[in-house]
């Protein structure tokens, strides 16, 4: 391995830009460029069904990336993150209902107004829930997020007059121009890309490094002068807000929202996607979303055994590639490009390390 690395050093040509890209953003650098270009082409290459799958990949991928701000970066696991996805979805849906008054007619301005309602409502929800959850860490944090998620689910499930109860809210038809799957896909792509770009900045800012510091060692973080709880809460709210962005896009996409969007199974989807792609990588959850959503669309086409399929996939990943798919690629590829170890977040990249490490393994 070492010998081959040496020969790569200083090479120009196609490898030098790749090297720069990796130095800039770790494995996520080239992956994001690849995904960015690829996602632009999706509607050109595939038919209506797969364009809709593409939209779903983007929305759920954003949801999972927002979850990873808490998990991969801050080192706490939330089993209630869907509460904020659902709050965002419901905020948009309720605005929709008020604007249309049951007529299925909504102007473009009203439509964007409804979308804008999602993130702040989700952020306020995260502020309230986070206020309690950040007092704890580890399994207690996880259980508390789960409890709050189920509590919010039950509120939405029971409050017929406001949320529609278990019927949810139906007939969320976007304005005519956005009813076309290709147009809605590109709208989603633009919003998800903007949100991902913001998250990218956040994760590489001083604040982003405070998150990593809290993941690594909360005690030490306190003793360098950081109010750990305050930073945990701020991050919890930011993550909730981005989940709300994803949630806002969901209702007009599926034309309806239901209380299950807030449920623990929906939260589990973010966890699964992140594990599949790799929590130690910025692009990990999005890669996980591609695998998960594509597989679901494909497998449910010919069998009802989807839970069995995804269960097997998760099992294999956790057992044989605990750093996720990107962890595997990272370990094989990055040392060749950089002549040193990869591991963008040094979190899950190496099974040897991650087996002993706490938090993100």
């Amino acid at each position: 391995m070492k010998g081959r690395n040496m020969t790569d050093k200083g090479q120009n040509g196609p490898e030098s830009w790749l090297r720069k890209l990796v130095e800039w953003g770790g494995l996520s650098g080239p992956i994001l460029v690849l995904l960015g270009l690829g996602s632009l082409l999706v509607p050109v290459l595939v038919g209506r069904f797969w364009i809709e799958v593409g939209t779903e990949i983007l929305v759920l991928g954003l949801f999972a990336m927002s979850f990873n701000l808490i998990y991969g970066y801050m080192g706490q696991i939330s089993f209630g993150h869907a509460a904020f996805f659902g709050l965002g979805a419901y905020a948009t849906a309720i605005m929709f209902r008020e604007f249309t008054g049951g007529t299925e007619e909504i102007t473009i301005l009203q439509f964007f107004g409804a979308l804008l309602a999602g993130p702040p409502v989700a952020a306020i929800g995260a502020l309230v829930v986070g206020f309690f959850c950040i007092r704890l860490t580890g399994i207690y944090f996880a259980i508390l997020t789960l409890a709050f998620g189920e509590l919010l689910f039950f509120v939405v499930f029971s409050w017929y007059t406001f949320t529609g109860g278990d019927d949810g809210i139906q007939r969320l038809l976007p304005p005519p121009v956005f009813r076309d799957p290709t147009v809605y896909y590109y709208l989603t792509l633009a919003i998800v890309a903007a949100a991902a770009a913001m998250m990218w900045r956040i994760t590489r800012s001083p604040f982003g490094y405070v998150l990593r510091a809290m993941r690594e060692n909360q005690l030490r973080t306190r003793f360098i002068g950081i109010d750990v709880r305050r930073y945990m809460l701020v991050n919890f709210v930011i993550a909730g807000m981005f989940a709300g962005v994803a949630g806002a896009l969901w209702g007009p996409f599926t034309r309806s929202v239901g209380p299950l969007l807030l449920g623990w199974q929906e939260s589990g989807i973010a966890v699964f996607m992140t594990l599949i792609g790799g929590a130690g990588f910025f692009a990990g959850p999005m890669v996980g979303s591609i695998v998960y959503t594509f597989l679901q669309a494909y497998v449910t086409g010919f069998t009802v055994y989807w839970p069995l399929t995804i269960g097997t996939v998760i099992l294999l990943i956790v057992l044989f590639a605990p750093g996720g798919l990107l962890g595997v690629i990272d370990a094989k590829l990055i040392p060749r490009i950089l002549n040193r170890g990869g591991g963008e977040e040094r979190a899950d990249s190496s099974p040897k390390k991650s087996s002993k490490s706490k938090g993100t393994s």
Binding site: R201, I202, S205, P206, E216, R220, F223, G225
Partner: protein, 250 residues
């Protein structure tokens, strides 16, 4: 001339029925460099924990730089100028050495709520300075958790220094270091004390380190200060010899 920087009065702490800090009165002048010694379990680390906000005292008062810091949270105390290096190295294992130090630099510069600037561009020179003081420049990009024990202790010190403290607590700064590293580290501590006027309080089991690098020595036993004075005074004190020094064959 010298100003009182730390004033501890009547400090008490119990853990269950054990009185781990008993009515401790202690002051430090700005710019002094002193050591706390005492057998294992004497309450040295507890004393540091009480002063840095990790434990809440049951009674007594701690005044630092004219401000009452009794019962304040660790992060508040850190921000007003007390840094500590831990006995068992307490670092961010999966971040690089540079990122470890930079976190403390950012915290000191109050930029940690900045979410949109690139962390790589803030506090570069301060980070380099702390790294080079502690001899870690070449290891800047190493993963902290993979460092040798001695280097981890150096990093521990670098993180503490990066916060530009006025008062530095070092809990056995040379534990796990080779003889050479020990001398290097203590030379650095002396230099910081002499050149930057940093006030230093350290604990140490190695008596030669204590007697060569502390101007004042405090002997702690069962949570009580038994004697304090110059290294010679403590060495020649009979009670001190009985409690502690005797075991170490001075």
């Amino acid at each position: 001339m010298a100003r009182t920087i730390l004033e501890v009065t009547g400090l008490n702490k119990h853990f269950g029925g054990i009185h781990v800090t008993q009515n401790v009165n202690f002051t430090m002048q700005e710019g002094e460099q002193s050591a706390i010694i005492g057998p294992n379990g004497a309450g040295k680390s507890t004393f540091f924990n009480l002063l840095t906000g990790y434990h809440k005292p049951d009674g007594g008062k701690v005044v630092f730089d004219g401000r009452d810091i009794t019962n304040r949270a660790p992060h508040v105390i850190a921000r007003i100028g007390i840094s500590r290096a831990f006995q068992i190295s307490n670092i961010f294992p999966r971040l690089t050495v540079l990122e470890n130090v930079r976190s403390a630099v950012h915290s000191h510069a109050r930029v940690t709520m900045n979410m949109f600037a690139s962390a790589d561009r803030i506090g570069v020179s301060e980070t380099q300075e702390a790294l080079s003081l502690c001899g870690l420049v070449e290891k800047a990009n190493d993963i902290a958790g993979m460092l040798a024990q001695g280097d981890k202790k150096k990093l521990e010190l670098a993180i503490a220094l990066a916060g530009k403290p006025k008062l530095l607590f070092l809990d056995e700064p040379t534990a796990g270091m080779s003889l050479e590293e020990t001398q290097e580290t203590m030379k650095l501590v002396d230099r910081l004390n002499r050149e930057l006027g940093l006030t230093v309080l350290f604990t140490e089991h190695d008596m030669s380190v204590v007697f060569n690098h502390a101007k004042r020595v405090v002997l702690l036993h069962r949570g009580e200060i038994i004697i304090e004075g110059s290294p010679e005074q403590v060495r020649d004190n009979e009670t001190a010899q009985q409690i502690y020094l005797g075991e170490h064959h001075i």
